[in-house]
């Protein structure tokens, strides 16, 4: 049994030496967040995408630098893999049920001015992926701007601008829907 207090970095170092128990522990930790993220990006087969992401993680674990944050590295892998899957299959799907359940289970609306769950469900899928990804990571995955910047490999200024722009577009889209 892996100690729950053991850090991601420690597990990744164990995985670098081929420890499959460490792999299982990392999958258990990140399975749900990555499924949610892949779904938010519009992936219709999030399980397959996440499974492939974990296999990539295993294959490429030696490219991970333990001085960096593991979750950012893993999200980066998941992001790239999901986007390339979407591109190769031309898949875009309406915003997932995950968002609905997330919104229902959370008291606060992450986008402040957008009033209802229904609004978000109608509006978010209409956002372009380059706006949807930072918005999702920041509001739904609870990542800081720095982490979003690390995951998407974009300067913090760009992330900040995209999130602000995405919120404005969301408001506009939602307004038109009423």
């Amino acid at each position: 049994m892996v100690d729950k207090n053991i850090t991601d970095n420690a597990l990744s170092i164990q995985l670098q030496s081929g420890n499959l128990t460490a792999l299982t522990a990392l999958i258990n930790r990140y399975e749900k967040p990555l499924l949610r993220y892949a779904t938010h990006l519009g992936c219709s087969e999030p399980e397959d995408s996440v499974q492939e992401t974990f296999i990539k993680m295993y294959q490429n674990i030696n490219s991970y630098d333990p001085t960096r944050k593991f979750s950012s590295w893993l999200y980066r892998l998941a992001h790239n893999h999901t986007i390339s899957r979407l591109r190769s299959r031309h898949l875009t799907l309406p915003f997932a049920d995950y968002l609905d359940s997330w919104l229902v289970s959370n008291d606060t609306d992450p986008l402040d001015t957008l009033a209802t769950t229904s609004d978000l469900l109608h509006c978010l899928p209409k956002l372009a992926p380059h706006y949807r990804a930072p918005l999702t990571l920041h509001y739904l995955e609870d990542k800081s701007y720095q982490e979003v910047s690390d995951i998407l490999r974009l300067p913090i200024g760009t992330i900040s601008a995209r999130i602000n722009r995405a919120k404005k577009i969301m408001r506009s889209i939602c307004k038109n829907n009423h």
Partner: protein, 284 residues
């Protein structure tokens, strides 16, 4: 035993059945090294391409309107597209680098451009242009022109100018050769002697073009080197000043009706003034 989720179970099963391995660290180190090399090579090839373009633009001489076309036509066709593609590849690689998104893009862009500009400036300083010349990249531009003169029309005063130019370059080569023999392979003589060989080669190209027979170097082994290196440098300064003066006041006017010879003479004079003279002045 760690409790497995469904996905974890599938992943472990796939790893075991397909015998998926962890990629060794050296692959990633190798990849990073290649990326760094890619940036360096792309900057270098961009610098060479731009240097050749600069050469074409800054050494127009007579027939400037056609000179650029001529230089470009003597270059391998891929040099300029390659330099532009290299620049784009280098920029793309820089953007892909792990650190780049954390840096100010303007600073990274400025450094990239500065690196290429520095590369362009370093080419003549390191005598890499002589190497390029030796590879034939712009030899034709130095030794001929788009206007082809009929060899039979070369007038006696032009033949004389050609002969005096070659004589002057021969003398310089023999002098620097004597200095190197006495003091060893010292800078700037070791670099300038290569350049003199290049100049002689340009003039011999003209001899060949006009069907003239060039004499051998009568000065080789017959010149005595100065007592000290400092004196040798002073001598170098005087020789380069005299060389430029010779071209400017006597030789170039004599070949005014031959654009190809004028271009070569102008280039040799420019090299003497912009490269050799400063080098000798520094070592004096």
């Amino acid at each position: 035993m760690q409790k497995q989720s469904l996905i974890a179970g599938k992943v472990i099963k796939e790893i075991n059945t397909k015998k998926i391995k962890i990629k060794p660290r050296w692959i990633f180190v190798f990849g990073t090294t290649l990326a760094v090399l890619g940036v360096v090579v792309s900057m270098a090839s961009s610098a060479v391409g731009l240097y050749l373009l600069q050469f074409a633009l800054l050494h127009p001489g007579r027939g400037a309107d056609r000179k650029l076309d001529y230089v470009l036509s003597t270059l391998p066709w891929y040099v300029l597209p390659l330099s532009l593609v290299s620049m784009a590849v280098g920029w793309h690689l820089l953007k892909k680098f792990d650190f780049s998104y954390r840096k100010n893009r303007l600073v990274v862009t400025a450094l990239f451009i500065l690196g290429i500009a520095l590369g362009v400036a370093m080419i003549p300083l390191t005598n890499l242009d002589d190497l390029l010349y030796a590879r034939g990249y712009y030899r034709s531009a130095l030794t001929s022109d788009i206007i082809t003169n009929n060899p039979s029309t070369l007038k006696p005063n032009a033949v004389e100018a050609l002969s005096r130019a070659l004589d002057d370059e021969y003398k310089a080569l023999a002098t620097y050769d004597a200095i190197i023999k006495k003091f060893g392979t010292v800078r700037p003589f070791s670099q300038i002697i290569q350049s003199e060989e290049t100049h002689i080669s340009s003039l011999l190209g003209l001899y060949e073009k006009y069907g003239l027979t060039a004499p051998d170097n009568p000065y080789l082994g017959k010149i005595t080197a100065p007592e000290t290196l400092s004196l040798a440098c002073s001598l170098g300064v005087k020789a380069e000043v005299a060389n430029a003066e010779l071209y400017k006041t006597e030789l170039i006017p004599q070949v005014a009706e031959y654009p190809d010879i004028t271009t070569v003479f102008n280039n040799l004079m420019d090299a003497s003034q912009s490269k050799h003279l400063p080098a000798f002045s520094r070592c004096r």
